[in-house]
Symmetry: C2
């Protein structure tokens, strides 16, 4: 005789941020429960009358006071029956990006329980969350090649070197500066502004802006963004 279904549905979010040649992800310190004092991904149970997407955005708001720039479903974790030692819980994981002005390192914020961790300094997390982050990172790396998603990690106006460094950092490989710039600009999805960023040293840089509507337009015409390296 099979018992009535008793499975909980949760959502979790992997939020990436980029700043100063570093990739970060947002973690929350558990205050109660089995994983007390452990760091975990932001997330929680879905409410009865709430869509999955709404559940994620709500949790991000509640737990970290943050609104994201890009959100997509990553994967649903539900094969390990004992992911959560209390109940059977399946978790629908989401993948999100924010730009740097939302990324405020812990020292600078009031939130005692939310913090940004550099991607190579992530501690051992509660549940199977380290595995989820692994998957999110591969997704991010893969997507950089075939979707202009890197711009969602940058501020509205940015010097060209920012996007170049972002690719270098996240993919962890060298890139030929000239070829990269040539290729990226050839897509015509960046708008050159007449603004200039003065740095503390070196030649000032023109600022660029990602042209969303142009990208949408090209996409409808069958254009596929794709960028590769030697």
């Amino acid at each position: 005789m099979s018992k009535i279904q008793d499975i909980k549905v949760a959502v979790d979010a992997i939020v990436f941020g980029y700043q100063n040649k570093q990739l970060y992800t947002l973690l929350i310190q558990q205050k109660y429960g089995v994983a007390k004092d452990k760091w975990v991904l932001p997330g929680g149970l879905v409410k009865n009358e709430e869509s999955l997407t709404n559940a994620v955005t709500r949790e991000l708001k509640e737990e970290a006071g943050i609104t994201v720039n890009y959100l997509e479903q990553l994967y649903t974790f539900g094969d390990a029956i004992d992911r959560d030692p209390r109940n059977r819980v399946i978790s629908v994981a989401y993948f999100a990006l924010v730009n740097p002005d939302k990324l405020v390192l812990k020292a600078d914020t009031d939130a005692k329980d939310a913090a940004w961790f550099a991607i190579n300094e992530i501690p051992k997390l509660g549940f199977d969350h380290n595995k989820i982050i692994e998957k999110a990172i591969s997704r991010l790396k893969a997507k950089l090649h075939y979707q202009p998603i890197g711009f969602d990690l940058l501020p509205k106006y940015f010097p060209f070197s920012d996007i170049e460094n972002l690719y270098k950092t996240i993919l962890n490989q060298d890139i030929d500066r000239r070829n990269f710039r040539k290729k990226m600009l050839s897509f015509a999805i960046l708008k050159e502004t007449d603004q200039i960023q003065k740095k503390t040293s070196g030649r000032p840089a023109k600022l660029f802006q990602f042209n969303h509507s142009k990208y949408k337009e090209l996409e409808e015409k069958g254009f596929h963004f794709e960028i590769k390296f030697a």
Copy 2:
């Protein structure tokens, strides 16, 4: 005061089969419930102590007596709260492939409630299942380009023209025969057998076999399957 969570978790499977230059998908005729007499994807509620993957394979066995060749998670549908008019149900959809000997058209089988539908003759299904199939088809099309997944839709031994026609059919575009063959064989993931298939007309063809272990091996060395067309 929020009520305790009451959301059901289901799995659904989109199973593709290929035969005679046609792509098929497996559907089930509902016998009870709100979608009575409507065709739907095979699937059902997950049991308490059962992994998601096991739930899918179990349902496929029970409802269609079939074992698949390839299975991967597709997407979790849970944004439309009223997908199912009775309860809040979220469905984890899986994407599966079978080879032609598992594909037995309805006329030839006893199963009165399971049938293969040609992909362009799919009726209006229950729930949001037409949308799920849409997503599965785009996934299939995309994957053909960067994963040697087409072979899971073919029998163990096949003439080269089979894989060529499969690509033509599913992607719905013309392919240069010579270039396609050259490219595909250059990967060295096909083993030429000494068998020959006699057709009713035309020159007999050598049979090939997909070399799984060779592919695995190459993959580990950093090889990426990729095939594109003009």
